[in-house]
C-alpha cells in the first residue's frame, strides 16, 4: 500500500486525510522537506493558492516536489492544488501589486483563477467522469478554470463537454473542484489507481 503525503501548509488537508482513511490508505501531513522523503504520492489540497505557494517557497518545498514529480511520483492537486501544479496563472490587471509566485509547471495547462466568479457563484454540479459509471456530485468553490490545454494532457471530465474540470498528464492529476468535501471517495480511488 502506498503512503500518500498531504501538503498541510494551509487549506482543507484534513478532509483529504479523512477521505484516504475511508479507502484504508495511509497518509502523512507534509509541512517540511524531511517529511517529503518517505512518501509514494502527494496531494496538494484546496485552500488559498497564494498563501500555499508562498509557504512552499519559504520552506523550500517547491524544488523537492518538482524533483519527485520528475521521478514519476503521482501528484494530485484539487482547486488551489490545480493552480499550483499548472504551467501559467493568468492574473487580472488590477492585481498588479500582488506578489506573483510561479506555479510548479508540472502539467501543461494555463489557469485563470476565480474564473467562475466570486463566492456567490460557487456551485454544485453532477459531473460525468471518465472511468466512473455514475455521475459524481462535485463542489466548486471560487474555482479556477483551465484556459489552455497542452497536447499531452488528457481531459477526464468537463462541465457540459465544454469546461474541463479533471485533467491528467502522465503522473499528474488535477481537479478544479473538491472531492475531499463530499462523502464520495471515487475520485480519491481514481488517484490511488495511478500507483
Amino acid at each position: 500500500m502506498p503512503v500518500i503525503g498531504v501538503l498541510s501548509l494551509q487549506g482543507d488537508f484534513a478532509e483529504h486525510v479523512l477521505m484516504l482513511d475511508t479507502l484504508e490508505v495511509n497518509s502523512t501531513e507534509i509541512r517540511s522537506q524531511d517529511s517529503l522523503q518517505n512518501i509514494d504520492g502527494l496531494i496538494i489540497p484546496g485552500g488559498e493558492s497564494t498563501a500555499i505557494m508562498r509557504l512552499l517557497e519559504l520552506y523550500d518545498l517547491k524544488n523537492t516536489i518538482i524533483s519527485l514529480a520528475k521521478t514519476g511520483m503521482p501528484i494530485w492537486g484539487t482547486c488551489a492544488g490545480m493552480i499550483i501544479l499548472s504551467k501559467n496563472i493568468l492574473h487580472s490587471e488590477s492585481q498588479n501589486k500582488i506578489h506573483k509566485y510561479d506555479p510548479l509547471n508540472l502539467i501543461d495547462i494555463d489557469i485563470t483563477r476565480n474564473a467562475f466568479g466570486r463566492q456567490i457563484d460557487s456551485f454544485e454540479f453532477d459531473l460525468d467522469v471518465e472511468g466512473l459509471t455514475d455521475p459524481y456530485h462535485s463542489i466548486f468553490i471560487r474555482a479556477p478554470q483551465v484556459s489552455r490545454i497542452g497536447k499531452n494532457v488528457e481531459v477526464l471530465s468537463s462541465i457540459n463537454d465544454s469546461t474541463p474540470v479533471i485533467l491528467k498528464q502522465d503522473n499528474i492529476l488535477v481537479s478544479s473542484f473538491h472531492p475531499e468535501l463530499t462523502h464520495d471517495n471515487r475520485i480519491h480511488e481514481l488517484f490511488i489507481k495511478m500507483f
Binding site: 487549506g11 492585481q95 463566492q119 462541465i159 469546461t163
Partner: protein
Amino acid sequence: MTTDTDQVTGTWQVKTGLAQMLKGGVIMDVVTPEQAVVAENAGAVAVMALERVPSDIRKAGGVARMSDPQMIAEIIESVSIPVMAKARIGHFAEAQILEALGVDYIDESEVLTPADENNHINKHDYKVPFVCGSRDLGEALRRIGEGAAMIRTKGEAGSGNIVEAVRHARKVLGQIKQIHGMESDELMAKARDLKAPFALVKKIHETGSLPVVNFAAGGISTPADAALMMQIGVDGVFVGSGIFKSESPEIMADAIVKATTHYKDPAILAEISKGLGSAMKGLDIRTMPESEQLSKRGW
C-alpha cells in the same frame, strides 16, 4: 462565466466549503486597498474590509456601522483572495448591500453597534455565507441554526488581550467533548440548558465536532497567540488590530501566518518570534467596564 442551469449556487456545502478552504490560515483586518495588498503578500487567506480596526472603533466611540461600500469595492478590486465585510448584528439591510457588492463572506459582528437586540440575521436567506462570533456552544449553535456557515470566538476585539478568545474557545470545545460523551437520552435536557437547536446538539453527539469551521478571533496579537489558539483546537485565526497596530505590520503579518502553519513546532515558533518589534498595546479586560466589552453584545 458559464451560466448552466444545472449549477446550483448558494448551497450549505458551498457556503461551509469556502470556510474549509480558509483552514490553517490567517484572516486579516484591513482598512485600505494598500493594506489589503500587504496582507495578501504576507500570506493572508482572506481580508476583512472595514473602515476602522476594532481598537480604533473603541477609541472613536459612537455608532459603528457597515463600512463605505466604495471602500469595500476598492478592496475587492485590489486582491485575489476572498474579501469579508462586517454587518451589524440583526441589520439584514446592511447584509443585503454587502451581498450585492460581491463580498465573499459576511461577518455579523459584535464589533459594530448591534441594530437588533433580539434577532440576528436570518442567514439562510442569502447566497453569501456568514461567519458569527460565539462565547459558548449554545451561542454557536444558535447562529448555525440561523444559517451561519462559519463560527469564530468573540474574544475581546481591539483589546490585544488573548484571554477572552481562550475562554471562548475552551468553552466551546469543552462543551462539544461533553456532549459527544453523553448518553442519547440526556441530549434534550442539554439542548434546553444550552438554548440550542436539538438537531444540532444531536449532530455534535454523533460526530464530536462542530458542523462548521471554527476560527479564533478577538485579541490575537503575536505569533505565539496564534499558535496557542491553534493548539487549543481552532481551525484558523482572525487578526484584527494586531497587525496594522503593531510596530512593523509586514513582519508581524508574515510571522503570524507562519505560526498558524507551524503551530505545533516550538523551534520554528521561536525563530519567527524574534525581532518582530512591539505588538499592539493591550488592554486589561478585568478593569474594562462591561459597557465597553464588545463580546457582551449579541446572545
